[in-house]
């Protein structure tokens, strides 16, 4: 089975077909996807701005991260689930879409950036918890995260305006 065959079988699966052919199914899943992606971006921006040295409603970075991360993670999981569902409804065409591919790359890089941050600067957060501005590694992580997630939002919107969706 080739990759294209696999994508076609995903599209033709019961799930893919139900989403594609349902009267309002796609719209509801898409609406939820947008809500989740904007929630990820909105809650992560608060943390990223803190990493850049702009305090939110508290000065301590660690507690702020603890405040926000449950929402970011919860929204992210739902964004992935709804995203997979949307993809399944039209797998071949989404795979062929350049903005879609770049969006997946941006997502991967955002995840990588987060992992690096958690394994390095975050390990020593007690040292810089209420320091303004934070150390350079934290600021780099913050601006990279913010930039990548805004890019994800733009690329996601452009999928609908680019070939082969348009």
């Amino acid at each position: 089975m080739t990759w294209n065959d696999f994508l076609e079988s995903v599209s033709n699966s019961a799930l893919g077909t139900a989403i594609r052919e349902g009267a309002t199914t796609f719209a509801w899943i898409e609406g939820t996807h947008v809500l989740m992606v904007t929630t990820v971006l909105g809650t992560i921006a608060i943390v990223d701005l803190r990493l850049l040295g702009y305090p939110a409603h508290r000065r301590g970075a660690k507690q702020l991260i603890k405040d926000m991360l449950p929402f970011t993670w919860g929204a992210f999981v739902l964004a992935v689930i709804t995203g997979l569902a949307l993809f399944a409804s039209n797998a071949l065409n989404y795979w062929d879409s350049n903005p879609f591919r770049w969006k997946m790359i941006a997502l991967f890089l955002a995840g990588l950036n987060m992992a690096v941050f958690h394994l390095t600067a975050y390990r020593r957060i007690a040292e810089w918890d209420d320091l303004l501005p934070p150390p350079i590694m934290a600021r780099v992580a913050g601006i990279t995260s913010l930039g990548l997630w805004i890019l994800v939002a733009f690329l996601g919107r452009w999928i609908g305006f680019s070939a082969p969706m348009v």
Binding site: L35, L41, G42, P55
Partner: protein, 162 residues
Amino acid sequence: MNMREAAAQLYRTAVSTEIREVTWVIPTVQSIHIVAIAVVLGSAIVTDLRLAGVLATDETPRTVVRRHLPWMWGALLVLLATGIIMAVGEPNRVLMNNVFWLKMSLVLFAFVLTLLFRLPILNPEFRIEHGRWAKMVKPMAWASLLIWIAVVYCGRWIAYAI
């Protein structure tokens, strides 16, 4: 002149045509609109959940609202500006659409709720527990969140209600 005629006239203007015909304008304006939605949701989640007693309860409501409300106002302005560009560019899709007007009603409602229940908190003399609407603060905070969520769904549904 009714809405249909107004929309048709708007459609024929040079500005409207330009917005529609320069291919990158509408997708870019919509993307900026989406990023601004994210800012509103981030602010709304923090302030509404603080008022609901769920998040950051070790910080005073005033601290939380004071920090996040300006971001919400700023983002709402960006949403208005990008929204106007989209309405001017595609007047039929926007102005002749029931879902759009439902969305505008909900936005107005959320905006008024925010004004009524957030602005007094900024006053250092104000005590939430002693305010006239003390019992309404928590339910209104949850209602506010739900209304913003409904606005997001309406926004996406505009495209499907044409």
